[in-house]
């Protein structure tokens, strides 16, 4: 099964990022891929990216800088508004993954 590795970012690295990770996991199971999400706070993003491989970043608190992987605003996964668009973006990234 494909595995999508997501860095899930929020202010404290607990509440919003965990909710985002759960929703991403649901999207994965609906579409037949696995989601491995790691929750961090905004200050831990650089170190996390240096220490591991990720396919995308999904955030609930603004992050700054240039990134070589797609960066997605995950607020819609909390409110349900614009959730479809986020799902599409995630599916596009997942499509490119190798088995």
């Amino acid at each position: 099964m494909k595995k999508l590795r997501v860095l899930s970012v929020c202010g404290s690295g607990t509440v919003s990022s965990s909710m985002i990770s759960q929703k991403l996991g649901d999207i994965g199971s609906d579409h037949g891929f696995q989601v491995e999400a790691v929750e961090v706070n905004a200050n831990q993003v650089k170190d996390a990216l240096a220490a591991g491989n990720y396919d995308c970043i999904c955030y609930a608190s603004p992050i700054h800088g240039e990134f070589s992987i797609p960066v997605i605003n995950g607020i819609g996964l909390l409110t349900g508004i614009g959730e479809e668009e986020i799902e599409e973006e995630i599916l596009k990234i997942a499509d490119k993954l190798e088995e």
Partner: protein, 154 residues
């Protein structure tokens, strides 16, 4: 999970001029109940300055102020319905303001318990109809009746 909904952590018609007021109100309820440690209030306010928690729903705004687990003694959801909507800065776009008609102030702890609690809070955030009823709730009993199915499996 059964004890998430606590009558003493619910208040309807809270008089609050701004987000600091309402966070302060919720913090006092949590502190009085013994669910958070001293310093929780200051930490949540400090964190809200840095990482705001206002969320724009389709028809109304909500906010989920919280801080990290170190100040939590018991995971809790404090449900506050302000007399009039309280302006919070928006999560992930600080320049935007959200008029929150429902404030769910959280005390979180790490681990599975928290994940389950957050899963349930996420369901509330996405349930427009429930939120619309919540913001119009007249008393605690009504809030309990509305939230019990989600927070207590009833």
């Amino acid at each position: 999970m059964g004890e998430l909904l606590d009558k003493s952590l619910i208040e309807v018609g809270v008089d609050a001029e701004n987000w600091e007021d309402i966070i302060s109100y919720g913090s006092d309820l949590l502190l009085k109940k013994g669910n958070v440690k001293e310093g929780y209030k200051e930490k949540v306010i400090e964190r809200e300055h840095q990482f705001p928690t206002g969320l724009a729903g389709k028809h109304m705004g909500i906010a989920i102020p919280h801080t990290s687990a170190e100040y939590t003694l018991k995971p809790s959801v404090c449900v506050l319905i302000p007399k009039k909507p309280v302006a919070f800065h928006a999560m992930a776009s600080e320049a935007d303001m959200i008029d929150a008609s429902v404030v769910l102030q959280l005390a979180v702890k790490n681990g599975d318990m928290q994940l389950e609690m957050l899963r349930r809070v996420a369901r509330i955030l996405q349930d427009e109809e429930l939120l619309a009823h919540l913001m119009k709730a007249k008393d605690k009993q009504e809030v309990i009746r509305l939230l019990a199915p989600i927070l207590e499996d009833k």
